[in-house]
């Protein structure tokens, strides 16, 4: 249930503004791939091209190829809706549905695909909440609103919601940036556990985090303000943080940036 992503020659635009240029990379299954780089260099944009969320923004478009186990996600006849079902996403700010209970939030994606008997939905909800390390904290208040949880719990609820539909890949855009250190640790533990089942891609501006949890790291940068972002270097995380081959990567990692 975990798949490989191969990107080649990908450009992404907002109207006439080219936000990223010529990105090519391979993202391995059952591993964590981290994207680092200064803000505005297109990490979020690139992440959103991987599940066709980029095109949701009016005027936004993509050129190039994204292959999921060999199938081009941008090929003709591929529905963005089905792409998003198999490639889940967790956002920077926790965004549980405020009008739904904890239970309904986790079950939201299940209700889209098919009619499922209640008992089976119960099972998947429990399994997903356990998977997101949240079950013990919420099992007694599944019918309370999801918005009543703490920020860290809300983010884990969003992860539970994403994994409930059993995606192949999980994309996370700075999932800890709005959280306190304890909640961050809880999410990091969770990511390490989830990578045994999923292909995980995480954007982070926290380099210690990238070093702690990722197997491979890609460094994004842009030549100048207004220029499109590019991948400068991608490598195994330990090598990336000890002996990067590009000067720009080393400068960024050691904090001698800009």
């Amino acid at each position: 249930m975990s798949k490989q992503i191969t990107v080649s020659g990908l450009d992404a635009y907002y109207g006439s503004h080219k936000a990223i240029e010529d990105v090519s990379m391979t993202i391995e299954p059952r591993s964590v791939t981290a994207f680092i780089g200064p803000s505005g260099c297109g990490k979020s944009t690139f992440l959103r091209t991987l599940n066709r969320m980029h095109e949701v923004i009016p005027g936004a478009r993509v050129e190039g190829k994204v292959l999921l186990d060999g199938v081009d996600l941008y090929g003709s006849g591929v529905e963005p809706v089905s792409v998003r079902r198999s490639i889940g996403m967790v956002f920077q700010r926790p965004n549980p549905f405020p009008t739904m209970s904890i239970y309904e939030n986790v079950a939201a994606g299940l209700r889209l695909n098919r009619r499922m008997p209640r008992s089976q939905t119960d099972e998947v909800v429990e399994e997903s909440l356990r998977g997101a390390n949240l079950w013990n904290e919420v099992k007694d208040r599944l019918n309370k609103p999801g918005a009543g949880l703490s920020g860290g719990q809300q983010q884990r609820l969003c992860i539970a919601r994403a994994i409930a539909v059993k995606p192949q890949v999980l994309l996370m855009d700075e999932p800890c940036s709005a959280l306190d250190p304890i909640s961050t640790l809880a999410i990091e533990d969770l990511i390490t556990k989830l990578k045994q089942e999923y292909t995980i891609v995480i954007v982070t501006h926290n380099m210690q985090q990238a070093a702690r949890i990722s197997d491979r790291t890609a460094f994004f940068n842009l030549a100048a303000q207004g220029q499109p972002g590019k991948v400068i270097e991608m490598d195994v995380t330990t090598r990336m943080f000890t002996s990067p081959s590009e000067k720009a990567t080393e400068d960024y990692i050691t904090g001698r940036f800009g």
Binding site: R84, T99, M100, A108, A162, V165
Partner: protein
């Protein structure tokens, strides 16, 4: 009287010194409290005046004001609100049932489906329609709709006559149905305009959460937009209902001003509190006038009860409203 103080308090000199700021704060508080009290006093005075006018008529009533169907305060001093209140509530609820789904559809189309240019143009048209005076709708109804509607009414009567609402011997242009259609057309723009605003307020992050789960646009709307917009749509519907119940001239032009309680909305019968006031106030005796004022107070009470019911519905799910998120 308090104006100079508040002007000084807002000035640069005052904002630097603590006593000045406190004084400005105090002045503003008095002003706000005073305005609030004034409004309450005026409202209480109006209510007292109306009740004082109504009481003698109610005393003189030979019938039971709440259950009597006849309205003859000028002659036999027998009058009751039952038929009028029934007509008001039925025509307004029917109007609401017709208007809300269409209005929500229009609002969703403008907020989530139409291309930007078209959405802007449509939004403008809706705002414009919301500002059209009700007498215009009434005239349109009497000139165009009354002759036209007997066709559709005949169809409903023939094929759906087994539903009590559409039953009856013969259909008529001047019917409760026609009045409800006019009311629906009249309240549609305001409900659509408010719903559109509410739907546009839905945070992008909720919509994206739904889309990222693989929701289609319609599923996204059902998952994120409609639940978030629900309290706002209910408020909009209540505003529309209030307008429909209070609508006078359009309804007075259409309804045949009969007295009776019947669910047969296609037939030549129907009346409403507001229409009855408009029709009868001119030649009313003092008792008749008091009776009409009493009926107006009942209309006010019905509107209040409807609004409170709606508030309850909204409040019941307050913790799910998304307001805290």
């Amino acid at each position: 009287m308090t104006a100079p103080t508040s002007t000084r308090a807002g000035g640069p000199a005052a904002s630097r010194s603590a006593p000045g700021r406190t004084r400005g704060e105090g002045a503003f508080r008095y002003l706000a409290t005073g305005a609030g009290i004034l409004v309450l006093v005026i409202m209480a005075a109006i209510a007292v005046f109306l009740v004082v006018e109504a009481v003698p008529a109610l005393r003189a009533n030979e019938g039971d004001f709440l259950t009597e169907v006849i309205w003859d305060p000028n002659g036999s001093h027998t009058f009751g609100i039952a038929a009028l209140a029934f007509g008001t509530v039925l025509s307004s609820l029917l109007a609401l049932v017709m208007a809300v789904p269409v209005a929500v559809g229009v609002a969703l189309f403008i907020s989530h489906y139409a291309p930007r240019r078209l959405a802007a143009a449509l939004g403008y048209v809706i705002d414009l329609l919301a500002a059209v005076p009700s007498v215009v709708y009434g005239l349109w109804g009497i000139v165009f709709l009354v002759p036209f509607i007997t066709g559709p009414e005949g169809f409903l009567n023939e094929y759906f006559g087994w539903i009590p609402l559409f039953a009856g011997e013969s259909v008529a242009g001047r019917s409760m149905f026609t009045a409800s259609v006019i009311l629906a057309v009249m309240i549609l723009p305001i409900i659509a305009a408010i719903s559109r605003e509410v739907f546009l307020q839905v945070p992008k992050s909720h919509e994206e959460a739904a889309l990222a789960l693989g929701a289609t646009r319609w599923e996204m709307i059902r998952m994120a937009v409609l639940p978030f917009g629900r309290p706002g749509v209910i408020s909009a519907a209540m505003l529309g209902l209030g307008r429909a119940m209070g609508e006078t001239i359009a309804v007075a032009l259409i309804l045949p001003a009969t007295f009776g309680i019947s669910f047969q909305i296609l037939t030549a019968q129907g009346n409403s509190i507001a229409a009855n006031i408009a029709n009868g106030f001119g030649e009313a005796t003092p008792i008749g006038r008091g009776a009409l004022i009493a009926s107006g107070l009942v209309l006010f009470a019905i509107t209040m009860v409807m609004n409170m019911a709606a508030r309850l519905v909204v409040a019941r799910r307050k913790e799910y409203s998304g307001a805290g998120a």
